[in-house]
C-alpha cells in the first residue's frame, strides 16, 4: 500500500497573507512535533505581495501604492525575493522531513525533487518546462515558477512555491520598487520578456482549480503516494492562530529590521559589442537581482540565464565572475566576454545608492 500524505486543499476562497503563511509555517512543525506525515497545502491568496525573509520591505515595495490599491503585504519565513500573489496564482506550501526517502539529498537535491513534481504538472497540461538551476522553473527562457525553502523544526523543512496561472504585469510594476521600474520610463517591459504564465503558454483559459488538481496528481505520481484530503487538527489550529497573532499581523515581523541595507546601482560600459547597461539591486554585500540591458546582440533567454545565475549570490568580483562563467557559452552576448560583463556589474556596484 502506498504511503499516505495529508492534503490541505483550499478551493473555497482566497486567503489573507497572514492566514496562508501561518498555515504554511505550521506544516513542518506538525511533521516534526505533531507526528504528522508530510502535508501539502494548495491554495490562493487575496491580491497581495510577499517579500522574502531577509528583504527590506520598505525598499522592495512601494508601500503607499500597495495601500492605495488594497494589495496586502507581508513577509514569509522562506528565502528569496518579492512575489506577487492573488486568486489566479497557485500557492504551494509543503512540510516534509529532509530525510524523506523519496527526496533527493542536499539543498540542490531537494529543490530538484520538488521541481520534478511541478514540471510533471506543467507537462500534464501541455507545457514543456525545465528546471533552471538553482531555483526556477522556466518555459522557453521565461520564468513560470520560483522555489524557496527553509529548514525548520528538527530536520523538517518548509518548501514554498507559486505557479502563475495568470498574472497582472501592470500591478507588479506599480507596486514593486526594483531596478526594473526605472526601465519602464524607456517603455521597455522587462517582466513580459522574463516571465510567462500558464495561460500565456497555452493560449487558453485554465482554471486555478484544474491546475491545483493537476499538481495534486503529479505529487502522487512523482512520490508514489496518495493524499488524504484533510484540515488542520486541534494542535495545528492552535499553532496557526498563534502564528497569525504573534507573527503575521505584527509590524515587528512585517517590517523586521534584521536585514541588510538595500541599495541599487546602475553601471554603463561601452564595449566592442555595444553599450552594456546594468541595473543592480543589492542587499548588504549580496546581489538581490540584476538586469542586463543595452544595445548588444543576445537573446532574452541567455540574458535571463545570466541574471538568474547571479541572483542571491555574493557581489564579490570572483563570485560574480564564477557565477557568470558557470552558465556562459561562446557569443552569449556577441562581442562581450565574462570579464567585461563582470566589470560592468562592478561599476553598477560602485554606483550604488541607498534605496
Amino acid at each position: 500500500m502506498s504511503e499516505q500524505w495529508r492534503l490541505f486543499k483550499n478551493l473555497r476562497r482566497s486567503v489573507s497573507t497572514a492566514e496562508g503563511l501561518a498555515v504554511d509555517d505550521t506544516l513542518p512543525q506538525s511533521v516534526a512535533r505533531n507526528n504528522s506525515p508530510p502535508i501539502l497545502h494548495l491554495y490562493t491568496f487575496i491580491p497581495s505581495v510577499i517579500v522574502g525573509k531577509y528583504q527590506d520591505i520598505g525598499a522592495a515595495l512601494r508601500l503607499e501604492r500597495c495601500r492605495a490599491r488594497g494589495v496586502e503585504f507581508n513577509r514569509r519565513s522562506t528565502g528569496g525575493g518579492t512575489v506577487i500573489m492573488g486568486p489566479e496564482i497557485v500557492a504551494l506550501g509543503l512540510g516534509i522531513n529532509v530525510d524523506h526517502p523519496r527526496l533527493k539529498k542536499g539543498v540542490g537535491g531537494v529543490f530538484q525533487s520538488l521541481s520534478l513534481v511541478l514540471l510533471r504538472a506543467l507537462d500534464k497540461i501541455g507545457i514543456q518546462g525545465y528546471f533552471q538551476p538553482k531555483n526556477d522553473l522556466e518555459v522557453n527562457g521565461r520564468k513560470i515558477a520560483g522555489l524557496s525553502a527553509a529548514s525548520e523544526a528538527d530536520s523538517c523543512l518548509l518548501f514554498h512555491t507559486s505557479l502563475l496561472v495568470d498574472f497582472d504585469v501592470a500591478l507588479m510594476t506599480d507596486i514593486m520598487n526594483t531596478p526594473v521600474i526605472k526601465l519602464e520610463d524607456k517603455g521597455y517591459n522587462c517582466f513580459s520578456q522574463r516571465m510567462t504564465t500558464v495561460r500565456d503558454e497555452l493560449g487558453r483559459g485554465v482554471s486555478v482549480t484544474e491546475m491545483i488538481d493537476v499538481i495534486q496528481n503529479s505529487f502522487e505520481e512523482e512520490f508514489s503516494i496518495r493524499f488524504k484530503e484533510d484540515s488542520p487538527d486541534e494542535w495545528e489550529e492552535k499553532t496557526i492562530q498563534g502564528l497569525i497573532d504573534e507573527r503575521y499581523t505584527k509590524d515587528e515581523w512585517i517590517f523586521s529590521h534584521r536585514h541588510p541595507r538595500a541599495r541599487m546601482g546602475v553601471g554603463q560600459l561601452k564595449t566592442k559589442g555595444g553599450l552594456l547597461e546594468i541595473y543592480l539591486a543589492l542587499s548588504g554585500a549580496s546581489i538581490e537581482s540584476v538586469l542586463v540591458t543595452g544595445d548588444f546582440f543576445s537573446t532574452s533567454e541567455d540574458l535571463h540565464r545570466i541574471e538568474n545565475a547571479l541572483k542571491w549570490t555574493s557581489a564579490r568580483r570572483e563570485s560574480i565572475e564564477n557565477n557568470i562563467a558557470s552558465v556562459w557559452h561562446d557569443n552569449m552576448i556577441y562581442g562581450i566576454d565574462v570579464p567585461t560583463l563582470t566589470k560592468a556589474i562592478l561599476l553598477a556596484k560602485e554606483n550604488q545608492v541607498r534605496l
Binding site: G52, K53, Y54, S77, T78, G79, G80, K104, K105, G106, V107, G109, F111, K134, N135, G146, L147, S148, A149, A150, S151, R258, H259, P260, S283, G284, A285, S286, K311, W312, T313, S314, R316, S319, N323
Partner: protein
C-alpha cells in the same frame, strides 16, 4: 589543516552533524560553519544571528543562514552564553565562503562549566570520526547522482 576528499576539516575542531564547527579554548568556544557546508550551500547571502548574552543549549538552532533561496540553520555545537558576534557578518556574509575557519567565524559561546563543556564535546564529531562523517555526507550526494544516471 586536514583535507578530506577536497574539504578542509581542521583536526583541532569539533563538528556538529548540522555542520557548525567549534574551536575550544578553555571555556571559550568559537563557532562557524564548516567548509563542507559552505561548498554544498554555495554563496551565503544572509545570516540571522542571535544577540550577545543570549543563552543557548547544545543542538539548539541559534541562527539562520540563507544561501540562494534556502534558509538553513545555525546549530549551537555547545551550551553556554553568547559573548561575541562577528559584526563583519552584517556587511559581508561571504566571509563564510572565503574563510570559513578564519574571518568567517560567526559567534563565540562561553560555557558555564569546563566539565560540562568537556562532556558535551563528546557528542560532537572529532579526530578520526571526521573522516567517516565527511565520507558519509559525500556518499549521500553520490548516491543521488547515481540515481540520476
Amino acid at each position: 589543516m586536514a583535507e578530506i576528499k577536497g574539504y578542509d576539516m581542521p583536526d583541532e575542531l569539533f563538528y556538529h552533524e548540522e555542520h557548525s564547527w567549534a574551536k575550544v579554548e578553555g571555556v571559550k568556544v568559537t563557532v562557524g560553519m564548516s567548509d563542507l557546508f559552505q561548498k554544498e550551500a554555495g554563496d551565503i547571502v544572509f545570516v540571522d544571528l542571535p544577540e550577545e548574552e543570549d543563552e543557548v543549549s547544545q543542538g539548539e538552532t541559534c541562527g539562520k543562514i540563507q544561501s540562494r533561496k534556502w534558509i538553513g540553520k545555525l546549530v549551537a555545537p555547545v551550551s553556554g552564553e553568547i559573548t561575541e558576534i562577528n559584526e563583519e557578518m552584517e556587511e559581508d556574509t561571504s566571509l563564510i565562503n572565503t574563510d570559513p575557519y578564519g574571518e568567517g567565524w560567526i559567534l563565540v559561546i562561553e560555557a558555564e562549566d569546563e566539565d560540562e563543556l568537556q562532556a558535551e564535546l563528546k557528542n560532537l564529531i572529532h579526530g578520526d570520526a571526521v573522516q567517516g562523517f565527511v565520507e558519509q555526507e559525500i556518499a549521500k550526494a553520490e548516491e543521488e547522482k547515481a540515481k540520476d544516471e
